[in-house]
């Protein structure tokens, strides 16, 4: 009896290990928008972690231009990657159009392409994984109203909107989602004209200061990425208005997390860049295995406040570097 169990167990082990010995790991190239920001580093951590967890299935190589302004450089990188013939490509394309020819060429060569974060205007993509930024912006509006209610303030007055940059689709989506939801749930609140800050914290700080000066009756702030959030947090801190302003910002970096725990920012809206990288590579492998993938996967947006920021799952969202293997 014991012998038989042992034999069956060995057999099962053998079957389980068979694909491991049989298949060589697939080469997946991950291309990010820019190497100069925490957000994209988090994507890379997710992607490389997947590879470290499954060393027998996949080897991940990472690429990216220095800055999000370098659209042409990213296109060049993609072209070079396609020429190097990896098994699959995961790309966060900065432009929705510029990378289309190279992506279509990859597909023709039989290299499946998964896009993350930004949608690309072609059908040649196997699957698209991204945050629904319109929903994320709406979530920010919900959090501002939640804070105002908690403070016992009436839902009327002025709220400022600081955007990192004009003409970037994900930011426009966040702002639109925010404005629409605000109109819906707090029609008496006036959202001031958007200020753009060239993704420079100093400019965000200056803009927030000026908005305070011009509008003494300001009750809330929405900053649509981490750098704009940092500037807003600093302006609130310098004026000692922490807790008295309903301020909500997107993304996370050390300064934002500090402001959240100090009660200067009420909430952070977090995307899941780690998940994008991780699931991106996973989807690439599934595509290689011949599975049909959903054309769009919402990687979700989560609102984090001081109350839930220490939960283990949220901690991983706040600083995916803690997940690095």
């Amino acid at each position: 009896m014991k012998k038989r169990v042992a034999i069956i167990a060995l057999l099962l082990l053998g079957i389980a290990l068979m694909p491991t010995f049989a298949a060589t790991p697939k080469k997946v190239a991950v291309i990010i928008k820019a190497t100069d920001s925490d957000f994209w580093q988090y994507v890379l951590v997710g992607a490389t972690n997947y590879a470290k967890e499954h060393p027998d299935q996949v080897v991940v190589t990472t690429y990216g231009p220095p800055s999000e302004a370098d659209i042409d450089k990213q296109v060049a990188i993609l072209e070079d990657v396609v020429n190097s013939k990896p098994d699959a490509i995961v790309i966060a394309s900065t432009s929705s159009d510029a990378t289309v020819p190279a992506i279509e060429r990859a597909t023709k060569l039989g290299i499946p392409v998964i896009t993350i974060d930004n949608k690309v205007n072609t059908n040649a993509v196997k699957s698209h994984l991204a945050t629904n930024n319109i929903k994320g912006g709406a979530l920010a509006a919900d959090m501002i109203v939640e804070k105002l209610k908690a403070m016992g303030k009436p839902l009327s007055g002025k709220v400022a909107l600081i955007s990192a940059m004009a003409g970037v689709q994900v930011l426009t989506d966040r702002d639109t989602g925010f404005l629409n939801r605000m109109k819906e749930i707090a029609p008496n609140i006036k959202v001031l004209p958007t200020r753009y800050i060239d993704n420079d914290i100093m400019k965000a700080l200056a803009a927030a200061e000026d908005l305070f000066t011009a509008n003494p009756d300001l009750i809330g702030f929405f900053a649509d990425n981490n750098h704009s959030g940092d500037g807003v947090a600093r302006a609130i801190k310098e004026r000692n208005l922490g807790g008295k302003i309903a301020a909500v910002a997107f993304d996370s970096d050390p300064e934002e997390v500090q402001a959240l725990s100090d009660g200067i920012l009420y909430a952070l809206i977090l995307q899941d860049p780690y998940g994008m990288g991780y699931k991106g590579v996973e989807s690439a492998l599934q595509a290689l295995a011949g599975k049909t993938l959903p054309s769009y996967v919402d990687t979700g947006a989560t609102a984090v406040t001081k109350a839930n920021m220490n939960e283990p799952k949220i901690k991983g969202l706040l600083d995916p570097m803690t997940l690095k293997k």
Partner: protein, 323 residues
């Protein structure tokens, strides 16, 4: 009688001759008056204190840039140096180096980086635009490398308090800028070095014939630009409480615009520190006023561009008609 009259007329006209600085002061005054009338908050202590703090960082970078431009050069690496000195100081402090040493060391490294620009320009005969374009990329890359493209937080409180401090009601950022302005004015107007800068900008041949040590002067000019950017980077880091890898990106453009609005000529030998200071103020006041009034940011950007071009045009026109 008639001759006398024309002479008097001429004298009168001479009195009306506007120097660049006076034109700019007038423009600034008009801006300030308009903003005082049309906004509630412009002429308040808080806003003016904000305004000078918002201007200080760019203002300091522009001081070094002015000297480079007067000498007929250009320094595109200033933004990267701002970022580097901030990150470098933050890293040193995080690793237990005392605040004062971290600050001095970062400024020294910035000075040396500038000096290397000077070396490339003089000894390498690389055009300043190219040399500093290269160092802009090299230094930014170095920042990303040492910081892993991540912010550096958790800096000592004594360092962070500096940017928040005020002396007799003046923000510390402004005071540092103010002393650097005085230093730069003294340097450019009352020292042999300052005269040499103008001479080199006017004609390198004349400079050589008059026995100026062009090599050393070039090192010093670019070194000073690095030094100023280094100081600006330290102040920015203190103000933002973090070492920011992207800090200072694009600052070369604001600095160059300040110099040019202030009457500096990219063909060299022209420009003053005071003009640049006003140029910096004009740029900052426009931004500040735009925010206060809630002006469409895209229109503001267009106006900014128009002012740069218009300022130079008016200056050229004025000079042509005074000769």
């Amino acid at each position: 009688m008639k001759a006398q009259l024309t002479e008097i007329e001429a004298k009168g006209k001479r009195k009306f001759k506007l120097r660049t600085e006076s034109t700019l002061a007038l423009l600034l005054l008009v801006l300030a008056v308009c903003l005082t009338i049309f906004t509630k908050g412009f002429l308040t202590g808080t806003n003016l204190s904000n305004l000078v703090r918002q201007t200080a960082i760019n203002g300091i970078v522009a001081l070094g840039m002015t000297m480079v431009i007067i000498a007929g050069g250009i320094d595109l690496s200033v933004g990267s140096v701002v970022g580097f000195s901030g990150i470098f100081a933050a890293l040193l402090m995080k690793n237990g180096v005392p605040v004062i040493w971290a600050v001095l060391l970062s400024i020294l490294v910035s000075f040396i980086m500038g000096g290397i620009n000077g070396f490339m320009v003089f000894d390498g005969r690389i055009p300043p635009f190219i040399a500093t374009l290269g160092s802009m990329a090299i230094i930014r890359g170095a920042i990303m490398l040492v910081s892993g493209a991540r912010m550096i937080a958790g800096l000592p409180k004594s360092f962070l308090d500096f940017a928040q401090a005020t002396v007799l009601g003046f923000p510390s950022l402004f005071l540092v800028w103010f002393f650097l302005i005085l230093f730069s004015i003294l340097l450019t107007r009352h020292t042999p070095f300052g005269r040499n800068v103008y001479t080199i900008g006017s004609s390198i041949e004349v400079a050589r014939l008059s026995g100026i040590n062009i090599r050393l002067t070039t090192y010093m000019i670019y070194g000073l630009s690095g030094l100023m950017s280094g100081i600006a980077g330290i102040l920015m880091t203190s103000r933002l409480a973090n070492g920011i890898p992207t800090g200072g990106q694009g600052y070369e453009m604001d600095a160059i615009a300040s110099c040019v609005i202030g009457g500096a000529s990219l063909s060299g030998a022209e420009g003053t520190i005071l003009g640049t200071v006003m140029g910096a103020f004009i740029i900052a006041t426009l931004r500040n006023g735009g925010n206060l009034l809630g002006i469409d940011p895209f229109i503001l950007q267009i106006v900014n561009g128009i002012i740069i071009v218009a300022a130079v045009y008016v200056d050229q026109y004025r000079k042509a008609h005074q000769k």
